[in-house]
């Protein structure tokens, strides 16, 4: 396609209104012609400015939040699989928030990765020099391989533990987290704190000083909505020192929570609360 022919059709191309043959021919010319490339860019800006002719209709807030959360979750998932450990942990820029998830814990991983590389190098060097000592080498190689596998397993286990801790931190420190405190006026002063990540729908509940549940009894955590719907967030036992950590996932609309409660229930939990709460916390 000649330059004048392309010029004639750039406007139509900016609206994707050419035939596919024309399109291919113009794009081939544009790839070689800076003037046409620039003009096409400007025409595209003009064409897509027409999007502003569409009546401005903001998305329904619930939809908008849902799409945002879903999008960011997809992005986080993909980033984790796509990003290699950074050579150095990037310094967070003066914010009282957890540093960027992708750059976290890279030191530990780097040290471990370096150890694996060193073992690999040691194996290679060993192999060269051990020609005459085949038996000894085989034994030692075997040992090193076992050590390497052990180290790899340890890294995997540590990664998984760190991922859990990261998820916990995120759920307690995220921008969309509401904290609901629950207390009781008894002597031992049991107390609880709920971290509700409204974005991800994760509920993280931490309790202290809870008396041990009686035999055949258990604690059950409840979310109570403004419409008086009672949603069980699971049953839990306390540690010897009366501490507990409960993590639950339940999507709930932002303003619909009235309170949380911990209630003493028969083992296995109840479909409905049956006794007076041990801890209650009102949502703000």
């Amino acid at each position: 396609m000649t330059h004048p022919e392309a010029q004639e059709l750039l406007a139509a191309l900016s609206l994707d209104a050419t035939s596919s043959e024309e399109r291919a021919a113009i794009l081939a010319h544009v790839a070689e012609c800076d003037a046409c490339a620039r003009e096409l860019g400007e025409l595209r800006d003009a064409a897509h400015a027409m999007a502003q002719l569409a009546p401005a209709v903001p998305m329904d807030p619930a939809r908008q939040a849902r799409v945002r959360a879903h999008l960011l979750a997809r992005a986080a998932e993909r980033a984790e699989s796509a990003v290699a450990p950074a050579p150095k942990p990037a310094k967070p820029v003066a914010i009282p928030m957890p540093p960027h998830r992708l750059t976290r814990f890279s030191t530990a991983r780097l040290v471990a990765a370096a150890a694996i590389v060193l073992i690999g190098v040691a194996l290679a060097v060993y192999a060269v020099s051990a020609g005459q000592r085949a038996n000894a080498m085989q034994r030692d190689t075997q040992r090193l391989l076992v050590a390497q596998r052990g180290l790899e397993r340890e890294i995997a286990a540590r990664d998984s533990a760190l991922a859990d801790r990261q998820a916990l931190l995120d759920a307690m420190t995220g921008a969309a987290v509401q904290v609901i405190e629950a207390g009781a006026p008894s002597a031992r002063q049991p107390s609880g704190k709920m971290f509700w990540d409204q974005m991800s729908g994760q509920w993280t509940f931490v309790a202290h000083n809870l008396p041990r549940a009686a035999p055949n009894r258990t604690y059950q955590l409840w979310l109570i909505t403004r419409a008086q719907r009672k949603i069980s967030a699971g049953v839990f036992a306390t540690s010897a020192s009366g501490d507990a950590l409960v993590i639950a996932h339940y999507p709930l609309a932002k303003d619909s929570l009235a309170a949380i409660a911990v209630i003493d229930e028969p083992s296995g939990g109840s479909p409905e609360p049956t006794t007076t709460p041990v801890l209650v916390g009102a949502s703000r």
Partner: protein, 203 residues
């Protein structure tokens, strides 16, 4: 492979241009994606809804558009148009694909054009997109399009909102193909000239 980009304080994202946000997104900065979403979601949604006429379909297009931005941010080339242009182009092409897939095009085009006549140009102040700047942009674009001769306006609207090719527009309007080509070329030249000020401030 992405190189991790450290986050910056939330308030600082507000000060970044769209192009800077896209640059950060290319570096894997999820907060930048959130910031661009908050800033552009109404524009993308309005376009998708206008093309598809259905909130569920529009929602899919919105998510898919931002997902493409996340995946292909590194490919964004500012010399080929603004970030808004890039995003509208993704959203429009997804929406037109969806229309074609559902074979609902003929009915939708008719409603699409009617809506353009009764709402888009007649009510320049309806439902603000967000900021004063956006409103000014909208007013400028609407003014520029309103100044076009009606037959030119019709041609580019059939192309942009109806997804019709020049030949299809000729067939639909009963005009010779050459006439349609001329109308589209003249209309786009005028729009480009009138909107050059937008381009200078474009990011």
């Amino acid at each position: 492979m992405r190189t991790p980009t450290p986050s910056i304080p939330a308030r600082d994202y507000v000060a970044l241009t769209n192009a800077e946000l896209v640059h950060r997104i290319a570096g894997g900065d999820q907060r930048a994606l959130g910031a661009l979403y908050d800033r552009q979601v109404t524009l993308v949604h309005s376009l998708a809804l206008r093309l598809l006429g259905d909130a569920d379909d529009a929602e899919d297009v919105v998510e898919e558009t931002f997902w493409q931005v996340w995946r292909h941010a590194a490919r964004y080339d500012a010399s080929r148009g603004s970030v808004s242009t890039w995003m509208c182009s993704i959203a429009r092409s997804r929406a037109l694909d969806a229309l074609r897939a559902a074979s609902r095009r003929p009915e939708r085009i008719a409603t699409s054009i009617e809506r353009a006549d009764d709402s888009a140009l007649a009510s320049p102040s309806s439902s603000p997109l967000g900021g004063v700047e956006e409103n000014e942009q909208r007013a400028l674009v609407r003014g520029a399009v309103a100044e076009l001769p009606p037959e030119q306006r019709e041609s580019i609207e059939l192309a942009y909102f109806g997804g019709l090719s020049q030949s299809e527009i000729a067939e639909r309007t009963g005009q010779p193909l050459g006439t349609i080509k001329t109308r589209i070329r003249l209309a786009m030249m005028k729009l480009r000239a009138r909107l050059s000020s937008l381009r200078e401030g474009a990011t």
